[in-house]
Symmetry: C2
Subunit: 201 residues, 2 copies
């Protein structure tokens, strides 16, 4: 990476970490410059506006999510094993504090911020990312039907929606309720879902 690219990458990582706590609307180019000990004008050259920074952070988060959760799943056999791998890593992404996301899933945070906003570039990108992810998940479920793991009449879009709800519940239970059983409960619910996909009607 060039020096400019390194600066941009560093700034995006810091902005993502801050966003997971204070939201996309809570980050500012000035605040970011202070945290990183960089000049504000230097960062403005990279991001130009707060809205562009928000868009870049969401795009960065989306690529990080795909790299952590989806790309490695392509090494796993398609169908149920791949779906299990994805859910396992998605829960890791959503619930646990790590260097990248001290405040939990940035998409959950952004959803809360933008759900009642009128259409706009940031909201639109967020919704597009979520819909693309639901479509991707549904494709993975369809892979399970092709492999004979799941019933032929599986509603893949419904299943993707069901899994999203599980992950949102997990995030709520881990981060708000600090429920030590959140992990076990979410896995139990996921196993029940898989059992239903296997049961012949």
């Amino acid at each position: 990476m060039s020096k400019g690219e390194q600066t941009r990458d560093l700034a995006l990582r810091e902005a993502l970490a801050q966003s997971s706590n204070v939201g996309l609307q809570g980050i500012t180019i000035g605040g970011l410059a202070d945290s990183l000990g960089m000049s504000k004008s230097g960062l403005f050259a990279h991001f130009r506006s707060k809205e562009q920074l928000q868009l870049d952070v969401l795009d960065f988060a989306g690529r990080m999510f795909i790299r952590r959760v989806f790309t490695p799943a392509l090494e796993v056999p398609s169908g149920e094993p791949r779906l299990r791998f994805i859910v396992e890593h998605w829960l890791g992404w959503a619930g646990f504090a790590d260097y990248a996301l001290p405040g939990g899933c940035v998409f959950v945070t952004a959803a809360r911020e933008f759900d009642d906003e009128p259409d706009g570039p940031v909201r639109d990108l967020l919704v597009t990312q979520q819909q693309e992810w639901l479509d991707t998940l549904a494709q993975v479920v369809r892979g399970g039907v092709r492999e004979g793991h799941f019933r032929d009449d599986t509603d893949a879009d419904q299943t993707a929606y069901d899994i999203l709800a599980l992950v949102l519940g997990y995030h709520f239970a881990v981060r708000l309720l600090r429920d030590e059983q959140a992990d076990a409960r979410t896995r139990h619910a996921f196993e029940r879902l898989l059992d239903d996909l296997r049961t012949p009607t």
Copy 2:
């Protein structure tokens, strides 16, 4: 109600409506006074501090939730009919804009705001309300076991958790994704859950 009680009730309704959009941290006694055309000092006499206002709004929201979702359910036969009634009215509370909650469920909003906050009176009240509600739901599920509607080995706490996840998914799909199928998908997932509760192991 006395004039003072009326003022307080009016202020809490307005504060709740504002909170559902801007969050509990976004409301101020001064802003509330402006919206209502009241004097700031008059409202300070009712709420004393921003934190007390937040606590009073949460408490008011909790009582409104119980009055709309739980109390009328006690008129419905216990077990599955009561659980259905509750989920139906809970979805109404969570998803649809009405005069009281233009920004959707205030508890979802507050969860996002306080999930990473250290312990404090507002966070503690929010968590207590959620845990009490999960316990109440679990009791309703146990009623279904007693009535013979659900399997004897039903895990009532797990079921309460599963339903909470469904409602969180519904809120996300309605408010962020504006998904017209959110209602059908959530109902489908709930019917699947009920089917599982009925199936003998």
